[in-house]
């Protein structure tokens, strides 16, 4: 019983860890392209910000 349970728990916590890393990186990418207040980043991503209906200037 224990021999089966441990890998399942380990697999679950590994999946959650991976999900957390993916969520952080994903949110950072969307923030950078869609929400950054740095002028150069805003100007570079300008057309995509508007095309994705993100709030822009």
């Amino acid at each position: 019983m224990t021999a089966v349970a441990i890998p399942v728990v380990r697999g679950k916590s590994e999946a959650l860890k991976a999900a957390f890393v993916a969520l952080t990186l994903g949110a950072t990418l969307v923030f950078l392209t869609g929400f950054s207040h740095i002028d150069k980043v805003h100007n570079a991503a300008h057309d995509t910000r508007h095309a994705m209906s993100f709030p822009c200037h």
Binding site: L23, L29, N43
Partner: protein, 224 residues
Amino acid sequence: MIHRILTVGLLAGLLAGIVVATLQHFVTTPLILQGEVYEAQQPAEPQEMAGMDDWKPADGLQRIAFTSIATIATAAGFALILLAGMLISGDEITVKTAFVWSLAAFVAAGLAPALGLAPELPGSAAGPLLERQLWWVGTAISTGVALWLFLRVESLTAKAVAVVLLAAPHLIGAPQPVSFESNAPAELAAHFAAASLTIQAALWILSGLAAGALWVRFNKGTQA
């Protein structure tokens, strides 16, 4: 697992981003360029003046390239968020599951915020940027959580909380401009609002489909 999720997310973003960047070139970018002609005719707000002298990509190839990079990065972000959501919910990641998640994500990040803040053509009148961004992010998260609770939790309390979360951002209300002043024709702005929502939907759906398909492929590869 971390290696797999990042590889799938970034690769899905690259594939979906290239397709949607091409769509943008023909669908939204021409409308943005038209909108900018009208925008240039109106006096700029001090807030808008801030970044005007800063670097920006030159019209033509450079602007297309930067727009494409931004779209690919956004697509990778969308794919990673979808993969994370499916893993946290304990869903088996397939093309079909990813497709359903991408539709829900579009409702949360596309339709719900658009109800308060219509997608803007450059030069549209709008409230303060930071306030709009906070309302937008708050609405997307609140709607996303509401959909998850409503569809995945079998309890009356969860469903009641979901309804409250769904309605709250709209009862609070999105920040609006003092007055609506824009030189751009209303038809152009309306066309752009519809086009940009379609483009966002395409990016969610294609990022989701690519992430689902690549995840299944990678899984097969590791099991073989």
